[in-house]
């Protein structure tokens, strides 16, 4: 059936997902930039993040930001997971892609032949979104571990001790930032996706031939 005959077309992104998306932009921004300022207090790698990227001005200010924005991040995360599981969003949109589909879609994407249809996720997108959700969960868990290495000692042992948990927390930050860079580049290539994350743009047909 041609799609323009469909009586209703649901929004590509439900209002709750759009809202949470922008809450995350703010919360993850606060966490990353305050995290860089915290890292600069005692760098574990041979470099510092540029001073102008830091949030909080000094270690104490950065920690205050980090330990404030963490609640926003966690609340938005809990709301999203609850929505994702109860609404069928995860089952419908974010099923684990088959490796073959990922290879196929990645190959098409690299030749700029992969169409981007708002409201539908190809195999590469699914992999990236599942990956960043996993990275955020890991970031919260390693963050809890290094925040409370004594009270939550089981968690810190799971990661092989406090120094290793701290390294994983830093590494996972890089993965999240790498996702954000890819994500923003793709939005720049397909600007209409930005509009669909603000306004309730209807989903596009899945297979327009």
């Amino acid at each position: 059936m041609p799609l323009h005959h469909q009586p209703t077309r649901t929004a590509a992104h439900p209002a709750i997902v759009r809202l949470l998306h922008w809450v995350w932009v703010y919360a993850i921004g606060c966490m990353v930039f305050s995290g860089w300022q915290i890292y600069n207090a005692s760098p574990s790698l041979p470099f510092n993040f540029p001073r102008w990227t830091g949030l909080g001005g000094w270690l104490g200010g950065a920690l205050a930001w980090h330990f404030s924005a963490m609640w926003l991040l966690a609340l938005a995360g809990i709301a999203y997971l609850a929505y994702g599981f109860t609404s069928g969003h995860f089952r419908r949109d974010l099923g684990v892609p088959r490796p073959r589909a990922v290879v196929r879609d990645l190959w098409s994407a690299l030749r700029f032949r992969l169409g981007h249809r708002i409201g539908h996720y190809n195999a590469v997108q699914r992999l990236l979104y599942l990956g960043v959700i996993g990275a955020l969960l890991l970031q919260v868990v390693t963050g809890l571990a290094i925040w409370k290495p004594v009270q939550l000692s089981a968690l810190v042992s799971l990661f092989g001790g406090y120094p290793i948990a701290r390294d994983i927390h830093l590494t996972t930050m890089f993965l999240i930032v790498a996702f954000v860079i890819v994500h923003v580049v793709l939005v720049a290539i397909f600007p209409r996706t930005l509009i669909s994350m603000i306004a309730g743009t209807p989903a596009e047909p899945q297979n327009p031939i």
Partner: protein, 252 residues
Amino acid sequence: MNGLRWMPVVKYRDIEPELRQLQRRAFLRNTLSLGGLALLSGCDLSTNSGIDAALKSILRFDDKVQAALFSGRRLAQTYPPSAVTRPFRFNAFYPEWQVRGIPDGWRLEVAGSVSDKTPWTIAALRTLPQVEQITRHICIEGWSQIGRWSGVPLRLFLQRIGADLRAPFVSFRCFDGYSSGLDMASALHPQTILALDFDGQPLAPEWGAPVRLRIPTKLGFKSAKNLQAIEVTRIFPGGFWENQGYDWFSGV
């Protein structure tokens, strides 16, 4: 006997105005930073802006969460002697060359809600039962190291001086200008000690001679060195770093 006399080259209060000016300059520079684009980076706990006030109130909320997560029975992990970090890193709010020796006639003073306010000599502290711990010292900056301390459990000391254990705070004042404080539950934790020895030797000045607090259930800056006085109090004690914006509870 006391060869190490307190002869600081620069006193903190002498350079305080300059330090404040430097901090203000840093503040101005930071308002031009990335966070400044979002009008946020000025919010570093140094101003009375609405966002700074919000950050401080969230930190107070975090302290309540941390106090609820804290268990007086849960012990910090202990390590074998082979795990001790060597060389051990010096850390203070001043560089190592400003470390102060023990003042002449030093006694550990006790004050506040305690029944026996007699000051303590080191010899007297050594007559009390001692415990040893090899635990991880975790700095608020993120680095950590494993050290070996021994001394008097603070719980035992507080009982010995007849402290009111229902008072909410124990405050620590140091002769190097430092100060800090603990909630009573953390003060009574079995691994919270008044350390007299570090790595099997009486504390050297850089490690907090003659007596320091060692509390492995808190971040390193809560383990005050070079103690002068302990006060059991109902008044929120704050602290050197805490007053500048470090989270007060700072449990780990």
